[in-house]
Subunit: 257 residues, 2 copies
């Protein structure tokens, strides 16, 4: 007897609220359109960075729309540890095996800890694998802290770059800040960067010391949370303002003119 | 008699669905969180690119949450024509007068035709003016086509650039594509670009002719609409696939490795 192969499922890219590892738990409906929450609630097969936080997020979705299966019977696969650390965009990790359920006809959800999967976070290897396997990729709408920060910076949003994390050793950090400033001032391309929250104060201090007086610096802290604050001014104003950046709140930094 | 000056209002950055100028009118709740729609419905003073399309969008919001004032009594200011064309990120346009209502204590909404204001669209002059005037800037959550496209591309999302529109004259376009490819392959920085929809087929043809066989190209067309499609493959696969890109659907292109 011949059994027809099922039509493949899709890979859905499922964004998450921006409150990961923060003190405040926001209402998921404040950052996600209902359609995205509904689509996520219908998925049983997941790929994520960390199964525990994935389950916690699915629990929050389940409080809004009934999940298609009990939490404990969800099928959750984690990206390997080495991918968390060095990223998975260099092609060295083959993620095709994670998409086996999709080849069997099931939709698979790719989940990030915060914001959009595969942006400033691992996951691109899974998306690439889906394309290579002929699996339809469907990005769901949700928050992206980098773009909220860029819009709120008042800097050039018609040409910009996200450079990720910059070195944390002082000398290398200063050199990198100088080269980003030269790029931003020379070409007009806004430069976006992030840092692990506990290093925010050190990065801010380094930016204020290194950047020129007329260069514009913006920060967006706690986006999507009650105390969120977006600042943007030239360095002279920053230096005289006494503005700080705490070591607990996720913050996006932007350098521009 | 002395009247105390009111506390200033805020500048809210209000995203819009991605269906602008498309045949399909989507449900605004499918791309915007309810909190953003609610916040937009409470705003009476607006800055936008085009008053007519702003009113049309406010009408769609009003169908979900009652607007704070009838449409015809909304206060809608347009960014000047020259800003539409050449952008407003170079500091030549002083937008402070557009924020007079905020200095009088009223919240002002900045609206884009599609997606997030001030990203791949004018508006940054208004945001910069708000910061300079000490007006609080609050970005609301909503769709950003560039980030949906980037996540769906499977390319490097830890380092990327958006370069806007590239030249449309063939020789200049080829030169620009070559330099973007060199950047993407050399540094691993994904390069995102857009085009006026009617030029999509010409841009795609030029990309397929110019890029090397192993370079990865991705397109995301009609994001947020029923027929949306995200493709990503190397140029060899693209050339043999017969995939097209129509001249009516907004499309984001990405070059990477």
């Amino acid at each position: 007897m011949h059994t027809a192969k099922p039509a493949p499922g899709r890979l859905l890219l499922v964004p998450a609220p921006l409150d990961f590892a923060c003190d405040v738990l926001t209402d998921v409906r404040d950052s996600m359109p209902d359609s995205s929450l509904r689509a996520a609630a219908a998925i049983r097969y997941w790929v994520c960075e960390n199964a525990k936080s994935a389950r916690a997020y699915l629990g929050r979705i389940g409080a809004v729309h009934p999940l298609c299966a009990p939490l404990q019977s969800m099928h959750i696969q984690e990206l390997p540890r080495e991918v968390h650390k060095k990223g998975d965009h260099d092609g060295s990790f083959d993620a095709r095996h994670l998409l086996a359920p999709a080849l069997d006809g099931q939709d698979v959800g790719l989940l990030s800890e915060a914001g959009m999967p595969a942006i400033a976070d691992p996951g691109s290897s899974v998306v690439r694998a889906a394309h290579d396997l002929g699996i339809c990729v469907l990005p769901l709408m949700g928050p992206v802290s980098l773009m909220l920060a860029l819009a709120a910076s008042g800097m050039n949003g018609q040409s910009f770059a996200f450079v990720g994390y910059i070195p944390s050793t002082p000398a290398e950090r200063v050199a990198r800040i100088r080269s980003l400033e030269a790029l931003a001032l020379g070409s007009g391309q806004t430069q976006l960067l992030i840092e692990t929250p506990y290093r925010n104060p050190a990065l801010l201090a380094s930016l204020l010391q290194t950047l020129g007086p007329n260069t514009r610096l913006a920060t967006a802290s706690g986006l999507g949370m009650p105390g969120q604050i977006c600042r943007s001014a030239n360095i002279t104003t920053w230096r005289s303002s006494g503005w700080e950046c705490d070591k607990r709140t996720p913050t996006v930094f932007a350098i521009g003119r």
